[in-house]
């Protein structure tokens, strides 16, 4: 028998951990209006309604975008930056519903973050959901 040396108190604490994923912007931030993922208690197959039918794999995503404009040509220049976009769970789920009308819900949910950065000037952080959809 495998005994795991973690107390119940630690387990309970970890269960409630939630950390937001915001796009990071440096320099002088002149505008920042984004949404990022915090927590999402997803379904497991056991929690499916009895008459549910699995429809296959579904994907959705929501993105935050950021722009950082350097003010000089120095190695570590001061920059003006701004960020905009909805990269939260809600947006990613809306994306799934739009692409798969009639879907009741999702199960076996995997969530990844997708970071794209070009020269540190343009940045994009997307929340990507891959799951099984059901009706």
């Amino acid at each position: 028998m495998l005994i795991v040396g973690v107390s119940n108190a630690t387990n309970a604490q970890e269960s409630y951990e939630a950390s937001p994923s915001f796009i990071g912007m440096g320099g002088l931030v002149v505008f920042y209006r984004t949404q990022g993922p915090l927590s999402f208690r997803t379904l497991t197959p056991k929690e499916l309604p009895p008459d549910a039918t699995i429809m296959g794999e579904v994907r959705g995503r929501g993105c935050q975008h950021g722009l950082s404009v350097p003010l000089s040509a120095a190695l570590r220049p001061t920059s003006l930056s701004g960020a905009y976009g909805d990269g939260g769970y809600l947006k990613a789920l809306e994306d799934i519903r739009r692409n798969h009308p009639g879907l009741t819900g999702i199960v076996d949910v995997k969530v990844d973050l997708h970071l794209l950065s070009i020269l540190g000037i343009y940045r994009r952080l997307c929340t990507e959901i891959l799951a099984l959809g059901f009706r």
């Binding site: 997803t42 076996d108 949910v109 990844d112 970071l115 929340t127």
Partner: protein, 118 residues
């Protein structure tokens, strides 16, 4: 003082190399959350095979970073050739490698679990 400066330098270098970000171009995916199934969630049997899938992102010369090291890619690899299956009793680990002072780094998500059915 020299010792502290050296230690700080290596800590910064290690952090930069393990962050797997490129100064010029970054296009990476990394894991955020996965509420996997338990044996009670699926049709489980003692003969269900244990499979493993690994997905990695890497960086080179601190300038470029690329790769899909997320849960979706790792589980897809674990379930390759089993389109109707689902993973349960899943353990997810991360694996990091850095060579030549972090000039090349690799950061992987490793998903291991049993193959079940609905």
């Amino acid at each position: 003082m020299w010792r502290n400066a050296t230690r700080a330098f290596f800590i910064v270098l290690l952090a930069a190399s393990l962050a797997a970000c490129g100064l010029i171009y970054t296009n990476i995916q990394y894991p955020r959350a996965y509420r996997s199934a338990t044996p009670a969630d699926v049709k489980a049997s003692v003969s269900d095979p244990v499979v493993s899938g690994e997905a990695c992102s890497q960086s080179l010369l601190f300038l470029f970073a690329w790769g899909d090291g997320g849960y979706a890619a790792a589980t897809r690899r674990a379930l390759e050739g089993r389109p109707e299956a689902i993973l349960y009793d899943v353990q997810a680990d991360v694996k990091a490698r850095a060579y030549l002072l972090g000039l090349y780094t690799q950061w992987c998500t490793v998903v291991t679990g049993k193959v079940g059915r609905f």
